[in-house]
Symmetry: C2
Subunit: 203 residues, 2 copies
């Protein structure tokens, strides 16, 4: 029986981007069904009394270096965006629109939005750029534009973020497999080990 992998990610998160480049291979290796959850980290930072990584003294400087180095070590295209971080409401809403209405385009859209921001320097904080990327992902641009203006989609994103918080999600990427939470791209190897442990028959 296929287990589910709940994948929570914020578009302004480099580690979320790195995770997105490997999530489908991870799921395929272990017969996991991905459920995609674009979130906004603002409410999480508020709950923790925290801030975006790059704005924290000491840790901020280190993290800028770690973004670049991690990308290089894992062979992932990366050009640190400027400005950074950005507002990702439109990108998250567009992703929910694809998830609900055109799930077959969803993974493509996520990949193109992330690569647009972190590899191609595209301003995915702008709705027009998000809509361009929707079109490049095979969605109808004007249908997406109408959807993004609807209150129901705004409400869906809000409820997704609230639900994520209620599940203990506080960062990006955040993965939950079989109630087991994993935070960070650097937990991918822990996930592999953990899945091997739990898959082992208890004879």
């Amino acid at each position: 029986m296929s287990k589910t992998l709940d994948f929570y990610f914020e578009y302004s998160s480099p580690y979320g981007y790195f995770a997105s480049t490997g999530i489908e291979a991870l799921a395929a290796r272990h017969d996991l069904t991905i459920r995609w959850h674009p979130i906004l980290l603002g409410p999480m930072f508020k709950a923790m009394g925290s801030a975006p990584l790059v704005n924290i003294p000491l840790k901020g400087e280190y993290s800028r270096r770690d973004f670049q180095r991690t990308a290089k070590l894992f062979g992932i295209p990366y050009t640190h965006p400027d400005p950074f971080p950005i507002a990702t409401v439109s990108a998250a809403r567009a992703t929910l629109y694809a998830r609900e209405q055109h799930p077959e385009k969803l993974a493509t859209l996520v990949g193109k939005l992330y690569a647009g921001f972190f590899a191609q320097g595209r301003a995915i904080n702008e709705t027009s750029v998000v809509l361009d990327i929707c079109a490049e992902s095979g969605l109808n641009r004007s249908a997406a534009e109408s959807a993004l203006a609807e209150d129901s989609l705004k409400a869906l994103l809000k409820s997704e973020v609230d639900h994520a918080l209620s599940q203990g999600v506080f960062g990006s990427p955040f993965l939950i497999i079989d109630n087991e939470p994993f935070w960070g791209f650097d937990r991918f190897d822990h996930i592999e080990k953990w899945l091997q442990t739990t898959a082992r028959p208890s004879t």
Copy 2:
């Protein structure tokens, strides 16, 4: 030519403990000379406006789970201590004493202090327990006791922490190899990849 590996660690840090169990093997694999730096994270938290991991909403709960799981996945003995976190001034000072006066006992002492706290439930916040562990590590208990009371050792710890901060150290474990900073036990595999990259001759 042997490179140096500056290893910064706080005794109340589970990830510092995990790192300590693998640091000598890492150094041996890559012909690195370890320089041991026991630090206190208090001043780092102050600089970042942060707090001990377990005291942060959401992240705290997750981290308690991640400590246990990481230990299990890597086969490291672990019983989450109570109370936690603790004050580690005596343990850090004793470590500096060993480093300056009896460097041949240093790695043993670090291992026994960490295992005492995280595997055997010993109260290494208490000076008497630290001195017991000094003795078990081959140091003279009363000589260590005298040293711990000296102002020069207190000043040395303070200057170590100040120096660490000036190097951008903000967490535990924190490793610097050839000016390249790595934060976290989960950067061990990045270090391996990074060393392979930099070791490659540029022909």
